[in-house]
């Protein structure tokens, strides 16, 4: 079974530039999550989708971050414009259903460095 795919693996941009990350969840997984993991910290949920609808985006900085999952499968996360404090690993995860006892499977992440 293929895992959660993310690209790119690494990205370096200058502050005020824009960047986009892509995630392809495990086939059949209805729920998709984006997490931000700052160096030395645990992952923090940015946004959660159930199919193509947003379930929770309370911790997404909406003035600069946006995410979409138009067809209920792949998802993109965009930052525009980027700030130095956005340097982090962005993890995508997916699970079969949006219930609390369902395991979430994680991709390898995209490491963003803003200079």
């Amino acid at each position: 079974e293929a895992g959660v795919a993310q690209s790119p693996r690494y990205k370096i941009i200058e502050k005020r530039q824009s960047v986009a990350f892509w995630c392809n969840p495990i086939s059949g997984h209805a729920t998709l999550y984006w997490y931000q993991q700052i160096l030395g910290q645990g992952p923090k949920l940015l946004i959660q989708f159930q199919n193509n609808g947003v379930v929770d985006d309370s911790q997404l900085p909406k003035d600069r971050f946006s995410a979409e999952r138009l067809k209920g499968v792949d998802s993109t996360l965009k930052i525009q414009p980027a700030k130095l404090e956005d340097s982090a690993v962005y993890l995508c995860a997916s699970s079969l259903a949006g219930t609390a006892n369902t395991e979430a499977f994680f991709g390898q992440g995209t490491r963003l460095t803003v200079v």
Partner: protein, 114 residues
């Protein structure tokens, strides 16, 4: 809302020694509990989870954890560690009715020395 505290940011241990990684949580509702492991430049992999039933749960790679409701703890243990266990370990909780949001602790770096 839930919060998770991992009391040790780093735990150095010699190979073949036992180890315990501590996790305490706070929640106003009942929760499910998870331990994830993250190897360098990798995503998170589920080690084990507590959903219900026996408070002692066994996971992959010889790890186990015990849920203690009165102390709101979910400590991870392994009786004999290997060099390959060197990684970052994250404790996480999810409330039964929390909209499926998984809240992570800050992580504990386990460093196994030969």
């Amino acid at each position: 809302a839930q919060s998770v505290t991992q009391l040790d940011s780093q735990v150095p241990v010699f190979e073949e020694a036992p180890v315990e990684l501590r996790c305490n949580y706070s929640s106003s509702v009942s929760v499910y509990l998870f331990w994830y492991v993250q190897y360098p430049n990798q995503g998170l992999q589920l080690l084990l989870k507590y959903l219900s039933g026996s408070t002692l749960v066994k996971g992959i790679n010889g790890f186990e954890a015990e849920f203690n409701k009165s102390q709101t703890s979910f400590h991870l243990r392994k009786p004999s560690v290997h060099i390959s266990d060197t990684a970052e370990y994250f404790c996480a909780v999810r409330g039964y009715n929390a909209g499926n949001m998984l809240t992570f602790g800050g992580g504990t770096r386990l460093m196994v020395k030969p």
